[in-house]
């Protein structure tokens, strides 16, 4: 009997059943997809890092090294499981051509190396350790898609021609967010190429499980070992790897949550509408003695069936879609070994989604308990306006909310996209707000070259403003008396500022700003005192600001000046030109001038740097934003059609009466459109305001968990206010028009016929 009631109910209310099923299926699909992608990304990154045996601590260094001192340190440190020094031959980007594509415009540090001996292996597309032959070269996998390369094509480095043997996965530098890229050649080819590049060292340590990497980093610095370059730890490498694709997953997750909310709202509403329509039947069932539980079951069974069907379809679609969306991850990091875990996670995600929806259904169905048989039967006739327990029908409020949430769903990824695409986004990542950045790193006599460079920029008439920021390594005293290493960048930080999450740039002599990760690590906030040890001299500083930084290991500090000069690790120059349009020409002229002067500088157009570093992430977020727009349009369309149909059904008598007294179908439709006008306007306004404000907070929370604090959207108001609003208006217009089509089937005489 229950099955018959269920089936007849579905057949009798097809529109409600299909829309309920659709909401359940779309919610299940989005959550399953999020789970699949999340597990796949983490699984792929972990598998790659495990197979490649990524070092726990890595110190880049340019200059002399003493292998003996390093070996002594490694042997004497109980945390060190394995140690090795790798050689990285840094090449001029102009010297590298990949199958006809020159890397001259690349903002990455490209170089060659040989396969590691003990760990940190470079792997092929099957995650096996690559054995490279003479004349062959393995190209970082991220360049395959970027330049459309295939194995067998040529790579030219200086005068030498190599054949691409395949593409390599580099567990450390795979992500475009990592600033260096390693090409793999044979040992004899490496020796031959030494003449065209400058050699740097990667000093790598594999630690025993459970060892404290931060404590180890301090021990390394304290031992006075080579540190002319950034130091990176395994957690930061994992973060870099996960961040570029992780942002897309986060966008999908946020969209999923919004969709779940919309689904809950709509399913609750359709159920309330049905309960209102079935009021008499519920009363009758109660009167004849059918128990509350059994009445609830009749309704619940339908939702359970629709939910089960929705879950299966959602899961199947997610399995198909994840293949497409995770293609880039799979290429970059290889297949995840978490296939079954991914399926289990997706299954759990679907179960959770459907569980939440069914709990919401169950709670709504409790209303049937409050409705007594007497009320339901007695209410058939009299005026029920005063009945406080009457099941409400708030169509317009629901439509307003759904339009608002739909706009929110479209606005949030769009804002994230415009923010990450903006050149100003780098100021959240620890890079100043300039047009051009010049780095002097990992070379001899950094201080001398910095001075020369400063003078060149000062004399250049094309330069509007420039600033020099020098970085040195200091020690910070911790409250327990111990000390730890800290890279301090000093100079005028007000000219091309980064974005401060709290406080402001250091101006006074004793002011210091800390990166978010560093402040977290040291447990300091704005106004706190900090003791720095510079060349055996203890200096007191006050923390004046906190900023985000994921460069150079993420734990850095900025000061206006330092009392006493430590050895320079590197220098950075930020430049803006009088004429922004000529920056490319200026950069190439400068490169010539500098190489003539013997200064090795990495010069970057910051806009290009953003495109290079975040290009893949931007493409993926753009894809997620497009998916969000499609999902929002679909949801808004379905909801508005559904509610308009319900409205027309409810107003059937009134519509018939209007027709009887001479209104045309067009006139009546006009009335409905007029009624929808404030609903759409309020919905759009709510969605845009919440998408910009609440969305910013949500995105900020997610980015903060990754180390990028104080996040603010850089909003493209034209797209958000006009574009997204226009999409919403057109969608709602089409949906209302479609929903109102039933009006033409309503006859003028219907109002005169007795309604049973």
């Amino acid at each position: 009997m229950k099955t018959r009631i269920l089936w007849n109910d579905i057949k009798g209310n097809r529109l409600l059943a299909v829309s309920t099923w659709l909401f359940m299926a779309v919610s299940a699909f989005m959550f399953a997809l999020t789970c699949f992608l999340f597990v796949s990304l983490l699984g792929s990154v972990d598998t790659l890092m495990e197979k490649a045996q990524t070092p726990d601590f890595l110190q880049m260094h340019a200059g002399e090294i003493s292998e003996e001192a390093l070996e002594r340190f490694a042997e004497g440190n109980k945390n060190v499981q394995e140690y090795q020094t790798l050689y990285f031959l840094n090449l001029e980007n102009s010297a590298i051509t990949l199958s006809g594509h020159s890397l001259v415009d690349s903002t990455q540090d490209n170089g060659v190396c040989v396969q590691s001996g003990k760990f940190d292996y470079l792997l092929d597309s099957t995650n096996e350790i690559i054995r490279v032959s003479d004349g062959e070269i393995y190209v970082p996998v991220c360049y395959r898609q970027e330049y459309g390369l295939t194995a067998g094509e040529n790579v030219q480095i200086g005068e030498d021609i190599f054949v691409i043997g395949g593409f390599l996965r580099d567990s450390q530098m795979n992500s475009m967010m990592a600033s260096s890229k390693r090409f793999l050649v044979s040992e004899s080819d490496y020796e031959r190429l030494k003449r065209v590049g400058s050699e740097e060292y990667l000093i790598e340590f594999l630690l025993y499980e459970g060892a404290d990497v931060n404590a180890f980093a301090t021990e390394y610095t304290d031992a006075g070992l080579p540190s002319n370059g950034p130091a990176i730890t395994k957690p930061l490498i994992r973060l870099m790897n996960a961040l570029s694709d992780g942002l897309m997953i986060m966008v999908i997750l946020l969209v999923s949550v919004v969709l779940l909310l919309i689904s809950m709202l709509c399913i609750r509403f359709t159920l309330l509408t049905q309960l209102e329509a079935d009021r008499r039947e519920i009363g009758m069932l109660k009167a004849v003695g059918i128990s509350k539980g059994n009445i609830r079951q009749i309704y619940f069974l339908k939702f359970l069936a629709l939910s089960g069907l929705g879950a299966v379809i959602g899961l199947l679609l997610a399995m198909l879609a994840q293949g497409i969306l995770s293609a880039h991850m799979q290429e970059l990091y290889g297949a995840s070994e978490n296939g079954s875990i991914g399926f289990l996670a997706a299954f759990a995600g679907v179960a959770l989604t459907e569980g939440v929806l069914l709990i919401s259904v169950g709670r709504t169905l409790k209303r049937t308990e409050k409705l007594s048989a007497v009320e339901a039967l007695a209410g058939q006739q009299g005026d029920r306006k005063d009945d406080k327990r009457r099941i409400p029908s708030p169509q317009y409020l629901i439509v307003t909310l759904v339009i608002g949430l739909g706009i929110f769903m479209m606005t949030l990824p769009r804002n994230l996209l415009s923010t990450i695409s903006s050149p100003k986004f780098v100021t959240y990542m620890g890079i100043g707000d300039g047009e051009i950045r010049l780095d002097i790193r990992q070379t001899e006599d950094i201080a001398g070259k910095t001075g020369q460079m400063e003078q060149l920029l000062a004399e250049d008439e094309q330069v509007e403003r420039s600033v020099t920021l020098r970085t040195t390594s200091c020690r910070v005293y911790l409250p327990d008396g111990s000390h730890t290493a800290l890279q301090v960048e000093y100079g005028d930080h007000t000219v091309f500022p980064v974005t401060y999450a709290a406080g402001e740039a250091p101006i006074g002599e004793n002011e210091i700003a800390l990166s978010y990760l560093c402040a977290e690590d040291l447990g300091l906030s704005v106004g706190d005192q900090l003791l720095l040890l510079i060349e055996d001299d203890v200096q007191e500083y006050i923390v004046c600001g906190i900023y985000s930084d994921i460069t150079n290991g993420g734990k850095t500090a900025k000061a206006a000046s330092l009392h006493g000069d430590g050895p320079l690790m590197w220098s950075v120059f930020y430049v803006s030109l009088n004429d922004w349009a000529v920056r490319q020409q200026w950069l190439s002229e400068y490169a010539d001038t500098l190489s003539d002067g013997g200064i090795s500088v990495k010069a970057v157009d910051i806009q290009e740097y953003v495109a290079d570093t975040y290009g893949q992430t931007i493409r993926e977020i753009r894809m997620a934003a497009q998916v969000a727009v499609m999902a929002a349009v679909l949801v808004m369309f379905v909801v508005v059609v559904l509610f308009t149909r319900l409205l027309v059904a409810k107003d059937r008598g009134d519509i018939s009466l209007r027709k009887a007294i001479g209104f045309t179908g067009r006139d009546i439709k006009g009335l409905y459109f007029f009624r929808y006008l404030p609903v759409v306007l309020i919905g759009i306004l709510t969605g845009i305001v919440s998408g910009n404000l609440l969305g910013e907070k949500l995105a900020g929370l997610l980015l903060k968990s990754l180390g990028a604090a104080g996040f603010h959207f850089l909003i493209d108001y034209k797209t958000v206010c006009l574009g997204i609003s226009a999409i919403a208006v057109v969608t709602v217009f089409c949906a209302v028009l479609f929903g109102l089509s039933e009006i033409r089937n309503i006859r003028a005489y219907e109002c005169c016929v007795e309604r049973v």
Binding site: M1, I5, R280, M284, A378, Q380
Partner: protein, 244 residues
């Protein structure tokens, strides 16, 4: 003659005031009164659909006011039958499925599907609606629908059948047909308590209670009087006396 329904000192929301009466097994009793006198409210209290503020109601020896809502629902399902003015039925089921509803697993019935279906068939045959079994409820007339409601109320062979204005929504012919069915059921032994404002309907019953402003103001026994015009005139005169 044993009592099947005993009502003592019943009060409800100021609508019912100190109502006491009894109904014996096999009786067909009508409750009459003007609109707002509390007829339907009285029916809801004595059938356990609602709980009275005070007073006691015994149905077939069980005091139902002290039962919980679920216990009362179970009691109604097992021992009572209901017929309403509005012929409430589930629109998504056909006529026979609606009739079988209280006896089905949904009503936690213990009978087998075949037994239920046979009984529904039998009742429909008796009511003359057997050929309409597979029709949807929108495809039959009001009289046929009300007869189907009577079938549904009889599915579990109730001890007492309550009817609330069972002919209120029917035309004259259909109302007569339905009343004939009630009379037949009563002759076969079913006890019936019926709320009505139609004196001709009330004249078919053996006893009439007159309700005014929530209290029973009078009682008329028609036992022994032959059916027909004389009986209807007797009821009309009595109602005149009562101020109808």
């Amino acid at each position: 003659m044993s009592e099947i329904l005993v009502v003592k000192h019943l009060y409800k929301d100021g609508i019912l005031k100190d109502i006491s009466f009894t109904v014996n097994v096999g009786e067909m009793t009508a409750v009459m009164g003007p609109s707002g006198s509390g007829k339907s409210t009285l029916l809801y209290q004595v059938s356990g659909m609602d709980r009275a503020d005070s007073g006691k109601v015994w149905v077939d020896g069980t005091e139902i006011c002290s039962l919980s809502e679920d216990e009362r629902a179970k009691f109604r399902l097992e021992r009572m039958g209901f017929v309403f003015q509005q012929m409430n039925m589930l629109k998504n089921l056909n006529l026979i499925d609606n009739i079988m509803l209280p006896a089905s697993r949904l009503g936690k019935g213990k009978s087998s599907g075949k037994e239920i279906s046979n009984r529904a068939g039998l009742l429909m045959r008796k009511m003359g609606i057997e050929e309409l079994a597979e029709r949807r409820i929108t495809e039959v007339s009001g009289g046929q629908l009300q007869r189907a409601c009577i079938c549904r109320s009889m599915m579990k062979q109730p001890k007492i059948l309550f009817a609330d204005e069972p002919t209120g929504a029917l035309n004259h012919g259909a109302a007569q047909e339905v009343m004939e069915e009630f009379t037949r059921l009563n002759r076969e032994g079913t006890t019936i308590l019926m709320v009505t404002h139609d004196s001709k309907v009330a004249a078919k019953c053996g006893r009439i209670l007159y309700l005014l402003d929530g209290s029973i103001k009078g009682e008329l026994s028609l036992a022994g009087l032959p059916e027909g015009q004389r009986r209807e005139e007797r009821v009309s005169r009595w109602l005149d006396v009562m101020g109808w």
